[in-house]
Symmetry: C2
Subunit: 497 residues, 2 copies
């Protein structure tokens, strides 16, 4: 038994190593790689992915899992070893269900659909994307059938990102959210002025500001980096090698919040219990829980009044034109609520509506109640219903996101779940840290990080998302009410005095 467990851990550690190699290649590709390296990089990544998959689904891993199966009960649910066996068995069984030809077809059709999507955006015409979308959609549905996960094919998609969560659970949350959010947006009043967020913002000064932020947030010196990229992301190769990115523009400050968002991911990677390192338990329990932390540091910290009370003088020193802008006006500007066409530009209130729209359309596509060719029309109608705006063309509508080029159904809802979870967890932290606002204003983030690390980050991938939530705050259900209260309060606080 002990030998089998040691063998299993060794094999999983090696697979972890190979995944990190793939991760380094991915990071390099998105930050450093000369553009003409792309073709060779794609081949190398495909080969390494294949090697990883092959090693993971091997009979030998299955044999070792059988030998250690009794540990799951003997050691108790919360032990690291029991969790390793439980999580690995679940993922091994899922991975074994996918024949190589389905995985290859999905990757191939996804690649082609990506090319078609770029072309369709160029021509601003969904119909150019449609045939390729249909092919990748069909492969995805075949995959979902093989997975036999949950009650509906959509459950299988969702399970990839939120293990164990059902479509019905998500729907119950979103069914509460959508009308309330639509009402909050409708009643938000005139959007605040944020014109001062465009102008002359030299990138070196932005970098200087962010270097201080990351240091103060609690990153360990010599254990992280922040680099420029086109589509910001964060990744990590171990708890002491965290890579964050942002997108700098010399004429606006959006890079600051993009970086704080990625810093939230980075802190959650840094905070994983080192005992879970070099194993499948390193990381986040789900995309939604991961996103809850990026949104925490981007929004609950980075768009809060206490934070900017402390930090605004430094920003004004770096960008002297802001000396003409009062703190209150700055705060209103960075929290401006206004319906818009583009998800990635959306404010905190409207953002989740963009997501719920996609979630609903995805479910209908997967159920077959919405035909792919009717997608633009359905998109535009729902934009009108949720946000009250007219979509002028496909590029600013149904063609705006990359996710559907791979038929990555189930991914979008995790963004809104992250928003909801962020406030649920934040409320518990507020209970614990009575002077949290004063700490944020003073730039003391250690108690906040420590609370989140202890509640959440240290568990890594040991538990399901809802088990993890229970460990974090003692509740095992997603509750949209704190998030709605937070938004209502925020919108009220934005009104001119």
């Amino acid at each position: 038994m002990h030998q089998a467990l040691a063998d299993l851990k060794q094999r999983l550690a090696e697979i972890f190593d190979l995944e990190r190699a793939l991760g380094v290649m991915g990071w390099d590709q998105r930050t450093m790689m000369p553009p003409k390296g792309a073709a060779a990089r794609a081949e190398a990544a495909a080969t390494l992915s294949g090697v990883i998959h092959e090693r993971f689904i091997s009979d030998e891993i299955g044999r070792l899992l059988d030998q250690v199966a009794s540990l799951e009960t003997e050691l108790g649910h919360d032990s690291d070893d029991a969790s390793l066996v439980r999580v690995t068995r679940r993922e091994w069984e899922k991975a074994r269900r996918v024949p190589a030809e389905i995985a290859a077809a999905w990757a191939r059709e996804g690649g082609k659909a990506h090319v078609a999507w770029l072309e369709a955006r160029e021509q601003n015409d969904f119909s150019v994307f449609l045939p390729a979308l249909r092919r990748v959609h069909d492969v995805a549905l075949r995959w979902a059938e093989l997975m036999e996960q949950g009650d509906s094919p959509y459950d299988a998609f969702l399970d990839e990102y939120e293990p164990g969560m059902t479509t019905a659970e998500v729907k119950a949350v979103f069914d509460v959210l959508q009308p309330e959010l639509t009402a909050i947006v409708r009643d938000a009043g005139e959007p605040a002025n944020n014109a001062f967020l465009e102008g002359d913002f030299p990138i070196p000064a932005q970098e200087e500001f962010l270097a201080g932020i990351l240091r103060d947030f609690g990153f360990e010196e010599g254990a992280y980096r922040l680099d420029p990229t086109v589509h910001p992301f964060a990744t990590s190769f171990t708890g002491t090698d965290i890579r964050m990115t942002t997108r700098y523009k010399p004429d606006n400050l959006r890079a600051l919040w993009a970086a704080m968002h990625e810093a939230g991911h980075g802190l959650s990677y840094q905070g994983v219990d080192p005992a879970l390192g070099r194993s499948p338990l390193y990381g986040n329990a789900s995309l939604g829980l991961g996103e809850s932390q990026s949104r925490t540091w981007e929004n609950l910290v980075g768009r809060s009044l206490p934070f900017w009370r402390g930090r605004y003088p430094e920003l004004q020193r770096l960008f002297p034109q802001l000396e003409a802008v009062e703190l209150d006006d700055f705060f209103r500007g960075i929290n401006r609520v206004a319906p818009g066409l583009i998800r990635v530009d959306a404010d905190e209130v409207t953002y989740s509506l963009h997501i719920i729209l996609r979630f609903e359309l995805e479910q209908e596509l997967v159920a077959g109640t919405l035909a792919l060719e009717d997608l633009p029309e359905a998109w535009n109608a729902r934009m009108k219903a949720f946000l009250g705006i007219d979509v002028p063309d496909d590029v600013r509508g149904v063609l705006q996101d990359v996710h559907w080029t791979r038929a990555s159904y189930g991914y979008f809802p995790t963004y809104a779940l992250g928003n909801v979870l962020s406030v649920q967890i934040w409320r518990a932290v507020e209970e614990e840290l009575r002077d949290l606002d004063e700490q944020l204003e003073a730039g003391e983030f250690a108690p906040l990080y420590e609370s989140l690390r202890t509640r959440l980050y240290r568990h890594g991938r040991k538990f399901t998302p809802m088990e993890t939530l229970e460990h974090a705050i003692g509740a095992n259900q997603i509750d949209p009410q704190p998030y709605l209260e937070y938004l209502r309060g925020k919108v009220a606080g934005l009104q001119p005095a």
Copy 2:
């Protein structure tokens, strides 16, 4: 047969992909990685190396090699496919000779010796390094026995870097070189003034200068990078993803020649026939031939008078203090000949003497005629004999290089072979390009690159070093005379007018 060849190519392409993954990790480690990522990176690299080795030495590769063996004669020696089979068989047979435990012991003892070497440097005491050196030395000798390559164990070491070359061949070249070089140094006269190479040289201006150099040397746009590092190197993941590095210091200009050196490596990678890409034939035929090209672009171009006739005004514009330095004095300064203690700081004339010293000591160590504990004494005596200088301590003597921490015997001589080969090849290019000096002055490097690409770079690893030399210049022997003539001419040209 066709199927077997296709299968073999596919397997080798996948191994190439995995080696590139390892390469990206290595590049990242030396340029970008936060220092605390080192431990996890070492584990990941070790795992991936093991996977690569295991896949390469597999019986399946052997079976496929047997099936295609007749291609070697059928297709003719120079065909790409025959070369692939020939080169792969040679490397597969070598790799199969090394039991995993020897490879692991070498890596392990090398790692420990590296730690001991750092400690010994700290204490400036060779005896601190000696016990660990003895252990890695013993493993290396066991390895050499297993290889049964050539007539002496040293042939086995040399073969790792110069496939097919014998110790006797190298010795014949060095036996001519050493007394001649010692005489040239002795007769070189008073070292030129180069004090102006120290001072205020802002790094952004150095970067600007080098960006122009690399572009003009002929690198393809969007297919390369130059990054800062501590110990400069170049690597490549495909012909259109070339990574070069240099070490910037704000108080001197050494980064320029370090970068031109690495650019030479980079151009040789860029110039490989694309048909050899994603196969074991991508790269350089040997370390010596690779080094011949880094030395070509660093020295034969980058320390030549025609090159600086064209480029010096730009350097003076970027570093105005050089306006007080005449071109002739600048040329003398950057080519200053003076015996010194440190190999990596050595000038063109003395450099090879540092190498020959190491080559001779290595041979004696491997033959057992020099005991490891007598190494410092032997080092110091030979420094006196070759360069006429006294070694004050171990750090500036026997402890200065990292190579022996892994008992990487056979590596050092390739540096001097590179110097010799660079001039042999350059002479052939001069015959072909009658106005080469005028081109260098005009900053037109395309004819030079094209000549070197056609003669040398395109062949990649298809041939042995001496076969490659024959393709490049019609000679299949290393001839030290052109190099000696070049150095004599250069030293003569450095005398004050």
